[in-house]
Symmetry: C2
Subunit: 161 residues, 2 copies
Amino acid sequence: MALDKIDRKILTLLQKDATMPVAEIGRKVGLSTTPCWRRIQKMEEDGVIQRRVAVLDPAKVNVGVTVFVSVKTNEHNDAWMRKFAGVIDEFPEVVEFYRMSGDVDYLMRVVVPDIGAYDSFYKKLISKINLTDVSSAFAMGQIKYTTALPLDFAIVVDDDK
Amino acid sequence: MALDKIDRKILTLLQKDATMPVAEIGRKVGLSTTPCWRRIQKMEEDGVIQRRVAVLDPAKVNVGVTVFVSVKTNEHNDAWMRKFAGVIDEFPEVVEFYRMSGDVDYLMRVVVPDIGAYDSFYKKLISKINLTDVSSAFAMGQIKYTTALPLDFAIVVDDDK
DNA sequence: CGCCCTTTCGCAATATTATTGCGCGAATGG
DNA sequence: CCATTCGCGCAATAATATTGCGAAAGGGCG
């Protein structure tokens, strides 16, 4: 499952633009289309490439506001966590959800059109599950957002090239 | 730029899987391929669909650890913000970056292989720009992560269907 | 109520791109 | 040094995207 320099180049390109024809990718990484295509296939089978998706403009679909919601709880067991996760899954406005170490127990990123919609979300949320301590932080602006992961840390065998 | 029910169905599908053939999308939304294709084109031109990307498995590219970094600063001017943004842009391990209201001024999400790599990142960061107060929170696990935005809030004209 | 205009549709033809089969040469390992 | 394996690239085939064009549906206006 190790990736060589060419694989990483391919991934870099696909993370930017997944519509690029394999032939063009091949040209950019110095490979003909067939081996390039086979590498991509393999990385999909291996699960390195999970999927290809369309990325929308948040403002254009009216969810220009991001809110980070921190949750503290007394319930520190697995069953409760699963329940919480299940509840969150039902909310499409929660786009990220993490279990945290330290001060807060959970952190989620929520996207909504405005403060009012966030309040609706908040009320719906606390009606579905009992939360001890919830704190909301509003983003005034998104300065950077990328789905592209850094490849500098990827496992490598062959790095002479 | 308003979206009707069919448009939203198309977007829902494309947010899940951007490789789906237009013909199949058309079938699922009750349209033949041509009008379906034209709708997709239009949404791309309008910028509703920003781009299509490959989503990688963080663990498979060795960035399984997420850290949220909160920054407080005394510099509350636009020039400094731009400089900060410029610095952050250079770090591929910072995948999200927000200007916040309230307690903290900036919040970023950083992906790294492990704590050690985070420490390296941290040192590099503070060497490039002077930050008053930095606080790091480690995610123990990613419970939910999606690039799909909710479409329930999108502007609609024709919603009889 | 009917007509015209605008919009959106769908079929069929064409162009692009993905995918497969096959043979070649380089690297590997004994 | 030989044999095996691996990755490459060409050329053929299959799938999909894209375009041209005419037909149907909706909407405003006489």
